[in-house]
């Protein structure tokens, strides 16, 4: 059982990450991937601030757990977590996407400490994670690979190639998390290629699948612990989330997949986050 204060501290990190996304990583009058970053925030916070073994002062330490975003467009949420964890100064956040910046529009391992792979072309991260997991297995490492896949991203056929491969190689040092926010760039996934029900598909491909509320930090911690115990097969956490979570006008709104924030919306967003913080206190 995880102590309540541990959960509260992770929840606070996730709120702080959302604030940084609004104020520093997007900002007034600018465009950014708000929706999918906010849907992943609690998962990313749980990994960086509780679950993973990692060292911000030595990002390439071989004895580290690996995290990558297959849905690379949600880079903002990872940048916020990396800054809070101390991988680079928080002052870098406001320079995102500017010429010469350490923080690119999509994750770039050659420029940003703590980024494990270049992602952004959808569908490839699960395969990369498999390769990392196989490499760690050859090295007899106890470390694990965590990869967040978008639910819309599951339309990419390579996700299912990777799913087949992981089961075939019995890769059990990987945890995939599908951020099930039900929306893609232009609208509802169910109105495009509806993959529901998702769980039996992963199970049919040979995966151990767990469904959780992707904003319930305690449940996420529990799910991560379960996946570590599963041997001989890969595990996936199907995290039910809300796109734009905690930002009232962006919740369940595909317009904020990569939308512009007005000054008024920035204010509202920060107000929403503060209200949630006060409600928890």
């Amino acid at each position: 059982m995880v102590a309540a204060e541990v959960i509260r501290s992770i929840e606070e990190k996730a709120l702080r990450m959302r604030e940084l996304i609004v104020t520093d990583l997007i900002g007034e009058g600018k465009v950014g991937h708000l929706g999918g970053s906010c849907s992943s925030a609690d998962i990313v916070a749980t990994l960086y601030f509780h679950k993973m073994k990692h060292d911000p002062k030595n990002p390439k330490n071989p004895d580290r757990d690996r995290f990558l975003l297959s849905k690379g467009h949600a880079a903002l949420v990872q940048y916020a977590a990396l800054a809070l964890a101390g991988y680079f100064p928080q002052s870098e956040l406001k320079k995102v996407k500017s010429l010469g910046a350490m923080l690119q529009g999509h994750p770039d391992m050659t420029k940003t400490p703590g980024i494990e792979a270049n992602t952004g072309s959808l569908g490839q991260g699960l395969s990369i994670a498999n390769g990392m997991a196989l490499g760690l297995r050859i090295d007899k490492s106890a470390r694990r690979v965590y990869v967040i896949v978008g639910d819309g991203e599951q339309a990419e056929g390579q996700i299912w190639e990777a799913a087949m491969a992981a089961a075939n190689f019995k890769i059990d040092n990987i945890t995939a998390i599908v951020d099930c926010n039900r929306l893609q760039a232009t609208g509802a996934i169910k109105d495009r290629f509806d993959l529901n029900p998702i769980r039996p598909k992963w199970e049919a491909f040979g995966w151990n699948a767990i469904e959780v509320d992707g904003h319930d930090v305690g449940a996420l911690i529990g799910a991560f612990e379960v996946t570590e115990q599963v041997k001989g097969k890969p595990s996936v956490i199907l995290a039910n989330t809300v796109k734009g979570k905690c930002i009232s006008f962006a919740e369940n709104n595909a317009a904020f997949h990569n939308g512009m924030l007005t000054a008024e919306q920035c204010k509202t967003a920060l107000c929403d986050l503060e209200t949630i913080r006060k409600g928890r206190a």
Partner: protein, 310 residues
């Protein structure tokens, strides 16, 4: 002239290098009996991954392995290992400069029976266009062996284009191979032919024929297309009356393009290309017949040289 299979040399080289270098791993897309990666599978099953008929996943998995310090070689026919996973090679592997080695086997027209879907006429062009990608084209089995060692010993993404058929051995075993170096196969003062792969032997035959007519042709084996030693290309072309390139590839984007790019500021000899004229391949019952069909012959090289010397 002695011939040997380049793909066997490739597989044997991987096995030999893998003995001491435990970081070498091989991934295969169900063509191991053709690419000869199956030799590595027999030797080191724990470092061999049969990735089945899923090339895109194979390429990205190799990226992950490289990110844990391994030196992955991905294997398939050239048409698949470049075209089928182009996005994977570009996005994750090459933007980050990952240490992934790509084997394009049965390249060019060398898989003569299988036809256009299995023949790669544009693989060099595709790979050459990716920033940071090294592109290698061995001329024979001996050079293949040295090249695989160079691929292991030098970091970064690299593509090796391997012919399916036994080719004449044209290079000595005792000279070193260096990535980016041009190799002069025959000296000549009048004309230079830049060739690679199977076309080097055709260029040498053309040079012999023309020597009898008093035209002396220098033949250069450009087994590294990229990075191309521009100054060395300029030096080879200096004072020549004609420059001809010869490749088993489209005239667009391959060796001819690379040489023309290198010579673009030189006020020297005119340049002509011998290659496939922007069409796909086709089935044939033997390799030589197909090369003749596409004009990839000593005769074609001689004709182009004479055309420029008129």
């Amino acid at each position: 002239m002695a011939t040997k299979s380049l793909r066997t040399a490739y597989g044997e080289a991987l096995v030999a290098l893998g003995k001491d270098n435990k970081n070498i791993v091989a991934l295969e897309a169900d063509l191991g009996k053709s690419t000869m990666s199956n030799l590595f599978q027999v030797a080191y099953p724990e470092r061999y991954f049969e990735m089945s008929i899923a090339e895109a996943n194979m390429a990205s998995t190799a990226a992950g392995l490289a990110l844990t310090g391994k030196i992955p070689f991905i294997n398939s026919f050239a048409v698949f290992s470049t075209g089928r996973c182009y996005d994977q090679l570009r996005q994750t592997i090459s933007i980050a400069g990952l240490n992934v080695k790509i084997c394009g086997s049965s390249a060019g027209l060398s898989d003569y029976g299988d036809g256009s879907t299995h023949q790669s006429v544009e693989d060099m062009s595709l790979m050459r266009g990716i920033p940071g990608m090294t592109v290698l084209v061995p001329v024979d089995a001996v050079e293949t062996t040295k090249m695989v060692a160079a691929m292991v010993n030098n970091p970064g993404p690299m593509y090796i284009r391997i012919n399916r058929n036994d080719l004449p051995i044209l290079t000595p075993t005792d000279t070193p191979f260096e990535i980016g170096k041009l190799y002069t196969m025959k000296e000549g003062k009048d004309v230079v032919v830049f060739a690679n792969g199977v076309m080097v032997s055709r260029a040498l035959a053309a040079a012999e024929e023309l020597a009898a007519e008093g035209v002396f042709v220098k033949v250069v084996n450009v087994s590294t297309i990229k990075p191309l030693d521009r100054q060395a290309v300029i030096a080879c072309a200096k004072g020549m009356k004609a420059v001809v390139t010869a490749e088993e590839h489209s005239v667009i984007g391959g060796l001819g393009s690379a040489i023309a790019e290198a010579l673009r500021l030189e006020k020297g000899a005119p340049i002509e290309f011998v290659g496939i004229e922007d069409v796909f391949g086709t089935s044939a019952l033997n390799y030589d017949e197909l090369l003749v069909h596409y004009g990839l012959t000593a005769q074609a090289i001689t004709t182009k040289i004479k055309g420029l010397l008129k």
